[in-house]
């Protein structure tokens, strides 16, 4: 048996902090649900969408994309060398989506009506597709997790989960492809409102591609962090080949961006020195061009520092991109002013804290991370944190 039946969650100072942040976030979420959006947020008629939609949802979904890109590479395309990171990537993605669902729920004004789109079909709305796909995909991911969970609890169900995995995996790659791009389509209707550096009929393609290439970057960052927290050796070789997948995709993305800008006659806007132009440059240079350089110079790619830099930059680049679409690119048209309220920040931070705690709990109690190769000490005297690294079974 790979996992022991006992549950454990050793508390550390960091975890206490996370727990407090999470609890505070929850409390404020209740406040928001009771007293309404107006009293909890700084949203207003000029800025109907703010931090929760912009960061928790649009950015969150992209960052949680590591799950579907890994599932595609490992389980569908059958690239076995990536399998050691598969479970971890898919778990992060599941947690990410659960947080996105929570963020979305916070953001809808009439939350008792959240189920309406399931029966009153506004199918001509992009949001309709986003809503259905995200809800279904979260369900699918929960079921996929069933395969992992039944290794420890309700073991008699394990066989069934194993059987339905192929279907789940295929749907689980299909749905994100659809809604990652639809998140971009959401802004296609902002014709003439969203700054031309970002508005394009290709927005869905750009959103899809970036959600895909940010996957390996997220996995790299997570693996490094998890490696430190759980003391297992990170296999740099796996990460190196993984980020090359990103690199090629980013090259195509870069070329498409340039062609699109030139084609739409918006290229001149890049070097205007205004806020929009500079933010666009930041996004492209820090988030795309530098990482591509790291990725394709073997020396940099082979070093741990290079890998981490790559991961952090790509993730930051995608965050900046989404923020640019939601805020920078809209501000010229919207007028008014918006800066997230303390409650908005604390709810977002609280959600992330809960996510991290959830991840730690699952990693320490289920088969998620590969067993570290340098197996010293017997189980009984490994430090508590270390015990999380359990045997990974293919």
């Amino acid at each position: 048996m790979a996992t022991s039946d006992k549950w454990r969650f050793p508390m550390t100072p960091t975890r206490y902090v996370l727990l407090v942040l999470g609890a505070l976030g929850m409390l404020l979420m209740v406040y928001r649900l009771v007293f309404g959006l107006g009293s909890a947020t700084n949203l207003n008629n000029e800025w109907p969408w703010g931090l929760w939609i912009g960061f928790d949802v649009l950015t969150g979904v992209a960052l949680a994309g590591g799950g579907y890109s890994t599932a595609l590479l490992v389980h569908i395309m059958g690239i076995k060398k990536f399998s050691p990171i598969a479970r971890s990537a898919m778990l992060t993605s599941l947690i990410g989506y659960l947080l996105v669902m929570a963020g979305l729920f916070m953001d809808i004004g009439r939350w008792f009506n959240f189920w309406r789109p399931f029966v009153s079909w506004g199918y001509h709305s992009v949001l309709f597709e986003v809503f259905w796909c995200i809800s279904l995909y979260t369900m699918i991911q929960l079921l996929e997790f069933g395969e992992v969970a039944t290794e420890k609890v309700q073991k008699r169900w394990h066989g069934i989960f194993k059987k339905i995995m192929p279907v789940l995996l295929i749907i689980g790659v299909l749905l994100p492809t659809l809604h990652q791009s639809s998140l971009g389509s959401l802004y296609v209707i902002e014709v003439g409102k969203l700054y031309p550096l970002w508005w394009s009929m290709l927005l869905p393609v750009f959103f899809l591609m970036s959600s895909f290439f940010v996957g390996p970057a997220m996995v790299t960052v997570e693996t490094m962090l998890a490696g430190r927290a759980h003391g297992h050796k990170v296999d740099l070789g796996v990460l190196q080949s993984l980020i090359k997948v990103s690199g090629y995709m980013m090259l195509v993305y870069l070329v498409m961006k340039v062609v699109d800008l030139v084609y739409r006659g918006a290229a001149g806007l890049v070097f205007q020195g205004n806020l929009e132009g500079n933010m666009f440059l930041l996004e492209m240079v820090a988030g795309i061009i530098i990482p591509i350089i790291i990725c394709f110079s073997p020396k940099l790619r082979a070093s741990k520092g290079g890998l981490v830099t790559f991961g952090v930059l790509v993730v930051a680049g995608v965050i900046i991109n989404r923020m640019n679409v939601v805020f920078t690119g809209m501000s010229g048209f919207m007028g008014g002013f918006y800066f997230p309220s303390v409650i908005e920040w604390l709810v977002s931070i609280g959600l992330i804290a809960i996510g991290v705690l959830g991840y730690l709990f699952v990693v320490e109690n289920f088969n998620i991370l590969p067993k570290h190769r340098h197996g010293r000490a017997t189980d009984s005297n490994v430090p508590a944190e270390d015990k999380g690294a359990v045997k990974y079974s293919v």
Binding site: V34, F35, G36, L37, G38, S39, L43, N44, N45, P48, W49, L72, H75, I76, M77, G78, D107, I108, G109, R110, W111, F112, N113, F114, R116, P117, S120, W121, G122, H124, S125, V126, L127, F128, E129, F131, P166, L169, I170, I171, V173, L174, T177, L178, S185, L186, V188, I189, E190, V191, G192, K193, M201, P204, M334, S393, V394
Partner: protein
């Protein structure tokens, strides 16, 4: 027959009767936060129409113009196409109406509207989206919108949209003081409310660079690809999966026994 209103901005005297009539008919509050008349007047949850005073130049002389603003009731409304629970619909008569019972409160309609019309009840626990409904119940009963009925200056004309269009065209062509443009004829694919003016529309705060292609078409052209992309990609994924599993099985058989590394 789709109805509309023609606003002749040269006739408006800025009395504000329309906005009072709107408040009374729709039982809207007078708020202290947003004014409904004057330079800073802005639409909000309780102000479904406002009359903005604009000081501008006509030739060399300074002039005042009064601009009534409200939902333009687009022929193909972006707000309705953006709503994922069908809470906003275009009726046969012309008004674009909102049903609070279906609304989830996502506020995507507010982002989608090219004229930034829908507003939100930010101070409520369960806020509604609020905007001019073009008095759809009155229209349905064969009456004109409340604002049109009270205008003492004859600035507002209610009627069939296409009649109003020919009326407007006649007016601007026969009188050289008018700008040769009917605002709302083509903007965002056409709107039920139409404006004519003797001062350029951009000087009056109108958004003039609006696409003439109906906004829903942009998203529809993308959404219509979904089934094909979904089916094609799904088939491809299944194919890849089956192929790779088969390949792995064969590899395993060849190795015979040495599996699960």
């Amino acid at each position: 027959m789709s109805k509309g209103v023609l606003v002749d901005l040269t006739k408006c005297v800025g009395c504000g009767s329309c906005m009072v009539a709107c408040k009374m008919w729709n039982k809207l509050q007078y708020t202290r936060t947003a004014s409904d008349k004057g330079g800073e007047a802005s639409l909000d949850a309780e102000n479904w129409t406002v009359v903005n005073k604009v000081e501008t130049k006509k030739g060399n002389e300074s002039v005042w113009r009064f601009v009534k603003n409200q939902c333009l009731h687009c022929e193909e409304p972006a707000c309705a196409s953006a709503c994922f629970s069908k809470a906003i619909k275009k009726t046969k008569d012309g008004p674009v109406v909102y049903d609070a019972n279906l609304c989830v409160g996502c506020r995507y309609c507010m982002l989608a509207c090219p004229f930034n019309i829908p507003k939100y009840e930010w101070d409520k626990t369960f806020p509604q989206v609020r905007k001019c409904q073009m008095c759809s119940d009155r229209l349905h009963a064969g009456e004109s919108p409340a604002c049109v009925g009270v205008c003492p200056a004859g600035a507002l004309t209610y009627g069939d949209r296409h009649n109003l269009l020919s009326q407007a065209r006649e007016k601007i062509n026969s009188d050289s003081s008018y700008i040769k443009h009917i605002y709302g004829e083509k903007e965002a694919g056409g709107t039920a409310w139409l404006y004519i003016s003797d001062v350029p529309f951009e000087a009056l705060g109108f958004r003039t660079n609006i696409t003439t292609r109906p906004l829903p078409q942009y998203t529809e052209s993308i959404l219509s690809l979904t089934p094909a992309v979904g089916l094609g990609w799904g088939a491809l994924l299944t194919g890849m999966y089956v192929y790779n599993r088969r390949r792995n099985e064969i590899a395993r058989e060849n190795k015979s026994g040495k599996d699960n590394g």
